[in-house]
Symmetry: C2
Subunit: 83 residues, 2 copies
């Protein structure tokens, strides 16, 4: 399954609780779509969030964010993980 | 130890072998500095690279890249990992 890293450059009012809540929505919405939001990293100060996702396509990954909480990433890149 | 994600927006001529070689240099140079280059993700098509690093500071993390192979990231963000 392809792997993607997405970047949210500046989520206004980002808190650890808010991003955890949004991630929980992703985990619910991804069911049955072949999408897995695996991990995320965030910075409250800048509002930046990185999400690591396995998904059949970038569009499928983005659709989970859109349908789960509406916070679509600014960029998404298909990546390979270093060994 | 603080955790950082860095982003290299466009490494010219990036290949899986080249990035693996650069990462190996990081692993050597980080010794004794309290820095650990934990994982990385890359895209040959765009030349984009993401590195996840634990380090005492962003400067300490960047110094390993600079001294190891000279390819310093375009951005580095202190992050927390989502639970």
């Amino acid at each position: 399954m392809p792997l993607f890293m997405d970047v949210h450059n500046r989520v206004e009012g980002l808190t650890a609780d808010a991003v955890a809540g949004a991630h929980q929505k992703d985990l619910e919405v991804q069911q049955g779509r072949g999408v897995e939001y695996q991990k995320y990293w965030f910075d409250e100060a800048s509002g930046r969030v990185f999400c690591l996702i396995s998904a059949p396509s970038a569009e499928a990954a983005a659709a989970v964010h859109r349908d789960g909480h509406g916070l679509v990433a600014d960029e998404i890149t298909e990546v390979r993980e270093g060994q």
